[in-house]
């Protein structure tokens, strides 16, 4: 128990072509996350955090190395299956929420379930509990534009949670929030962690990283420090 690996990356490299030169963004990353861990990836701007997260989230391909998510060899998997893996295994939380502006809060939250083929009624019932927990029950018929930043981020968290993913991925979840709503979100993360969720959070802020159980540093595409808080 407790040693089941959700993320297992070995020797992962990623580079971008910049004209004739190659810009190496991730250099031989070895990274693993156990089930139930709350990990922070800390690094300065441009260090390759988002690139790493896109790879973890099965949204981007890697040039070299291996990556297994829940034992699935992602580096060998086709886009069609990756779509399904994103839907089932990963809950995304973005810095700028990435809610769909034309949909209501409820519609946004149930989207991952609808994509799985659930019908509206059962999807709404399934999400009820999470919506209540995040204190959004009053807001479900509102449009994202009618909510505060903190509320929007909670909607995004609800959307990520309702599909009951094996991994929650958060890229700068507090980046667009003020101190108090940021703290609120982080407190929520702690609670979700206590409930047994596996969380990987990306941040450039030491103080935010402190909330995590474990912090990994990334500088210039190299992961060089790994300490447990």
């Amino acid at each position: 128990m407790g040693t089941e690996q959700i993320i297992s990356m070995k020797n992962v490299c990623k580079s971008y072509k910049m004209g004739t030169e190659r810009l190496s963004v991730l250099k031989n990353i070895d990274f693993s996350v156990d089930k139930g861990e709350f990990t922070a990836i800390l690094g300065p701007s441009g260090s390759g955090k988002s690139t790493l997260m896109n790879i973890i989230g099965c949204m981007d391909t890697l040039d070299n190395g291996t990556y297994a998510l829940n034992g699935i060899p992602i580096h060998q998997t086709k886009e069609k299956e990756l779509t399904s893996i994103r839907n089932h295994e990963i809950g995304f939380i973005f810095q700028n929420y990435h809610l769909i502006p034309t949909y209501t809060v409820m519609q946004n939250i149930i989207m991952p379930l609808l994509m799985r083929g659930h019908d509206r009624k059962s999807a709404e019932t399934d999400c009820r509990e999470i919506i209540d927990m995040l204190g959004l029950s009053e807001r479900i018929q509102h449009k994202p534009s009618e909510l505060s930043g903190g509320q929007r981020q909670r909607v995004a968290i609800a959307r990520a949670l309702c599909s009951k993913p094996s991994l929650l991925l958060a890229d700068e979840p507090t980046g667009a929030l003020d101190q108090s709503s940021g703290t609120e979100v982080l407190r929520l993360f702690t609670k979700l962690h206590e409930m047994g969720n596996t969380i990987v959070m990306i941040t450039h802020d030491m103080n935010v990283a402190k909330w995590a159980q474990r912090t990994v540093r990334i500088v210039d595409g190299e992961m060089f420090e790994d300490k447990t808080n």
Binding site: N54, M59, K80, T83, S84, R86, H98, Y103, M111, D119
Partner: protein
Amino acid sequence: MRFSEILNLVRLNLIQNKFKVLLTSIGVIVGAATIVCVIAIGRGGKADVAEQFRNLNAGALDISYEQSKEKSGFSFGGSVPSSKSGDTAMPMSDRPDFSGGDFPSIGGGSIPDFSSSRSSNSSSGDRSSRSGGSGFFSEFGGGFSGLFGGSSDKKNTENITLSTDDMDDIYSSVPGLSESTITYTTKQDIYGGNIEETESYTVAGTLSDYADLSNLSMMFGDYLSDADNENKSKVCVLGYNASKNIFGSAEEAYDNIVYIDDRPYSVTGVLAEQGTVESGISADEAIFIPYATGIKYLTGSDISPTITVIAEDVNNIETVTENVKTVLAASYPNAEFTISDAGSKMEAANKSNKTLTLMLIAMASIVFIIGGIGIMNVLFVSVKERTQEIGILKAIGGSRKDILLEFMMEACCISLIGGIIGVLISFMISPVLSGLNIRMEMSATGALIALCFSLVTGTVFGFYPAWKASKLVPVEALSSE
């Protein structure tokens, strides 16, 4: 993703952009309205033709004779207007004008001259004199052909008056005929009823079966009977408009007296309104009298009747035409008769109608293509605008198929909405067009076709942008601003 949920997303997006949807679909709106109108006009035209020719039987052959004005042999066989060989297909332009001339329907393209000069022709008007004349003329004609060396050069210089005997002759000799009748028309001065001064009307001498043959229906009374003809009774049947003009109403006209050439005729019947007809006697304006009565009191032999025979089988019309020619040639070897069949007239009319419809359809298609390109354009912009949304959908597990379907359905809905609006508009403007004297027959089929066209437009032109959207790479789509 369930299809119903995709449709729901489409609904949410469209509601959010009502105005844009409307603007996008304008091309399709115009296209659909055009299609509905085009089909309605096409059907209207067809109905028009059917109506205009409804007094004609498809198997009807009109046989008439036109005397050539040229008395001398200066013009050879091929020249106008005497030679009309093989004249089964009649041009549309041949619209008898009843205001000036007084002819029953004649098929020939040339305009015969039957002005007052005909009174100077043979006057006794019975058959014996005609056959005598015929003998004389055939001799003359023989000399003619000897002179010019071409037996087929029929000059129509003889004065021939077709008669009931010719009709009987044709009817008994030509196989495959179901009916026959003979008519002539003449212009006569009329008074009676509300008419203060005499007015000129077309008076048609007909047999009892004319009404049936021309599909005429009665409003009051009965059509002329055989007895009327045998007794040369001074009775008449009025066309609907004629009865209204002379007596104010059809009811008033019935059983009243009309004076034709100063002799009183009792009105034994009034026809129901027939509408305008393309060919034959314009029944609404005419006065019908028994054939023999007219000859006795009005015209003498100074008539150029039309014999109408009905072929039992329309497909045999060509054989029947040839046989009629043969029978007539036996009696009048040097005359060329004008034989026109109703079927080919209708065909010609329908053909020109079809051409028009095709042209209009081509026009509508162009409108649809332009409308489709409009939709495609807007969808491309929409895909650009919503790249991030597509990225989000992909990030949370939206498949390529889901995204393709959503955008396709959006295009289809926009075009379907456009189609529906277009159809509604077409039904609204159809009274206006009808007011402009464009005959339109609106139909559910037309509306359905327009909707199908709209849908196809949406699908065809929506596919490419939708496909583009579905192909977006998730990370790139997501990071786009």
